[in-house]
């Protein structure tokens, strides 16, 4: 145990400024157990996350696996230049951004609503059943979901078009058109992830002090008012944290899902960075180029997270760091 403490102290003494040294020292010493607690976690991140990061170097190389990093040729910013000068760069950027906005504006609030609705259910058995059911789709792979959607929506004997036709409407070309891609994408995301997303909000709601509701009821607040004035504020900080982390994920829209939906007729709206990297890079072992694109995505994500965090702090929230 002593050894560990020495390590902790050594690491931490680097930070304080000379003038406040003793004051800081006291604070550090007071939290010595806390540092001990986070040490294994920090080591984990150092070893399994930061050590491999030297691999990002290959974004600036013409990397050949068998030559290794030391043997591969340096090319500076060539891969980034290639990315930005791709004729399709801007439309891919736009598509990625639009899908992200859909995720944020349409998908993100749904699990919150669903959690609030579930919370209002008084019959415990019903509540538990619904909870279990809505969480099932999360375990179905995109391949299955997309193939089921195909069977339902196809022009060649699909159920939906069958119904439309029998009602006297025109058949709708869901699968081979660019205007239906985005609705389909977001509906599938909602279908698969909304129930799963409620879990965390339910946990947050469960932590709300029941006395607050009692007090509100005494004041004559109805159910909706209780929801708005007690439940929502109580889970606000969780919502903010999730929102910031979600924003960091801006360019992660689910490669497999989009790739499965992508076809010749919707490429102009469905091609995103991940699918693009797949066709240009991975298929032909272009490690450097795909790393460069990943690097670019990381930087965009980082800027947005920092911005979102700053915004959260400005409006009095805790933020994520």
């Amino acid at each position: 145990m002593d050894n560990d403490l020495v390590v902790v102290k050594k690491n931490s003494t680097v930070i304080p400024k000379a003038s406040r040294r003793t004051e800081l020292w006291k604070r550090i010493k007071k939290n010595k157990f806390m540092y001990l607690m986070i040490l294994p976690g920090i080591l984990y991140f150092l070893i399994y996350k930061y050590l491999p990061m030297y691999g990002l170097i290959i974004a600036f190389q013409d990397y050949k696996p068998y030559l290794g990093i030391s043997g591969s040729e340096w090319v500076g910013f060539d891969h980034f230049k290639r990315l930005f000068s791709e004729p399709d760069f801007w439309f891919i950027f736009r598509n990625t951004l639009l899908l992200f906005v859909l995720q944020l504006v349409i998908f993100f609030p749904i699990p919150i609503f669903l959690a609030l609705m579930l919370n209002e259910v008084r019959n415990q058995a019903f509540k538990k059943t619904v909870q279990t059911i809505v969480y099932i789709p999360h375990f179905m792979s995109w391949v299955i979901i997309v193939s089921i959607c195909y069977v339902i929506l196809t022009l060649d004997g699909g159920v939906v078009n069958g119904i439309l036709e029998s009602l006297g409407f025109q058949k709708i070309n869901f699968l081979l058109s660019d205007e239906w891609f985005r609705p389909m994408y977001i509906l599938q995301v909602i279908w698969r992830e909304a129930g799963w997303g409620t879990i965390i909000f339910l946990a947050a709601i469960a932590a709300v002090d029941p006395q607050l509701y009692e007090a509100a009821r005494m004041d004559g607040a109805n159910r909706l008012q209780q929801m708005i004035h007690i439940t929502l504020p109580a889970i606000k900080s969780v919502i903010v944290v999730l929102l910031i982390l979600k924003i960091g994920d801006i360019l992660e829209l689910g490669f497999e899902h989009v790739f499965l939906l992508l076809n010749a007729s919707n490429r102009n709206v469905a091609e995103i960075f991940d699918t693009y990297v797949y066709t240009t890079g991975l298929q032909q072992g272009q490690f450097s180029y795909s790393t460069a694109v990943g690097f670019f995505k990381g930087i965009v994500g980082l800027i947005l997270v920092m911005f979102a965090n700053w915004l959260a702090k400005k409006s009095g929230e805790e933020g994520v760091y």
Binding site: I42, I47, Y48, G55, R122, V134, N222, V241, V305
Partner: protein, 291 residues
């Protein structure tokens, strides 16, 4: 609790329950299709394409997958990795999250940033493989656990929940002579069961879905978890590998077998949830402790 019996409240209840019932039905139907498909014949599946109630029942698909011990063994591996992995990850995450939830911790912002950074940048498959190799984990089940010990997202959620606990809790415990470890395990954790259950579930599901790591780090096929088999069957049943140059004389697995494996690989993880569910109603605990 006193139940509100007003008309508005009842209307609210009924709308709510109706909506939730519709949502549930919409969500369950495709899964129903998968289960039903696994209990029929591939001929019927080809004829109808979307099956909800089989006209011709068959358990041939299950007989096929359970005819050898492959699926059992893979399920065993997955259960083991999920169980121990979740324990390990929870231990590390709770410790880290609690440590970082202390607002007066010097260097806290820096450490948080240091962790968030890993969510945005990663070194890629090959350098990670090298680290796994150098830490001696190749061909060991630990290679499925150690490299993903902490999920930054989960850890941050835990941290923000711990932060939300009233400060008074810790103060009173300190007066009782508890050190930080004591406070964490005796006071904070029991008060945080909903989030502990949630994050455990998140970890369990991640471990259950382990797939790529198993292929990269485990050369011995007998160590593969269920997801590798599942993927293999889903991909093979797609039939694309039987074209042209990749063509082999092996007929692709039947569609019903694919569905059966999906069912077998999904049921265990579905069973976890009801067990954790009871912890979501424990909010009351917090109130009582405050008194």
């Amino acid at each position: 609790m006193v139940e509100d019996k007003s008309i508005g409240s009842r209307l609210f209840n009924w709308t709510n329950i109706t909506l939730l019932t519709i949502i549930s039905l919409l969500t369950i139907l495709p899964f129903f299709h998968v289960v039903a498909s696994s209990f029929t014949t591939s001929a019927e599946l080809a004829a109808k394409r979307f099956v909800l109630i089989p006209t011709e029942w068959s358990i041939a698909a299950y007989q096929y997958i359970f005819s050898t011990d492959t699926v059992f063994r893979a399920l065993g591996v997955s259960i083991g990795v999920t169980f121990f992995g979740t324990l390990w990850s929870m231990l590390l995450s709770v410790l880290t999250a609690y440590g970082l939830s202390r607002k007066d911790l010097v260097g806290r912002r820096f450490i948080m940033f240091f962790i968030i950074f890993t969510m945005l940048f990663n070194g890629g498959m090959i350098p990670t493989f090298l680290v796994v190799k150098e830490t001696g984990l190749l061909d060991s089940y630990l290679s499925l656990i150690m490299p993903v010990s902490i999920n930054a997202f989960n850890m941050i959620i835990l941290k923000s929940f711990f932060q939300g606990l009233p400060d008074g809790l810790e103060e009173s415990a300190k007066i009782d002579g508890c050190n930080d470890f004591g406070i964490l395990f005796r006071i904070v954790l029991p008060c945080s069961m909903p989030v502990i259950a949630t994050i455990s579930l998140f970890y369990a599901v991640t471990y259950w879905n382990t797939y790529m790591h198993a292929i990269l780090y485990l050369n011995d096929a007998t160590k593969w978890p269920i997801q590798v088999l599942l993927r293999q069957i889903v991909v093979l049943a797609g039939g694309m590998n039987y074209d042209g140059a990749n063509y082999t004389d092996v007929p692709p697995p039947e569609q019903t077998v694919k569905m059966a494996v999906i069912v077998v690989a999904t049921i265990p993880v579905l069973l976890v949830y009801p067990f954790l569910q009871k912890h979501f109603a424990k909010g009351a605990l917090l109130g009582s402790m405050k008194e």
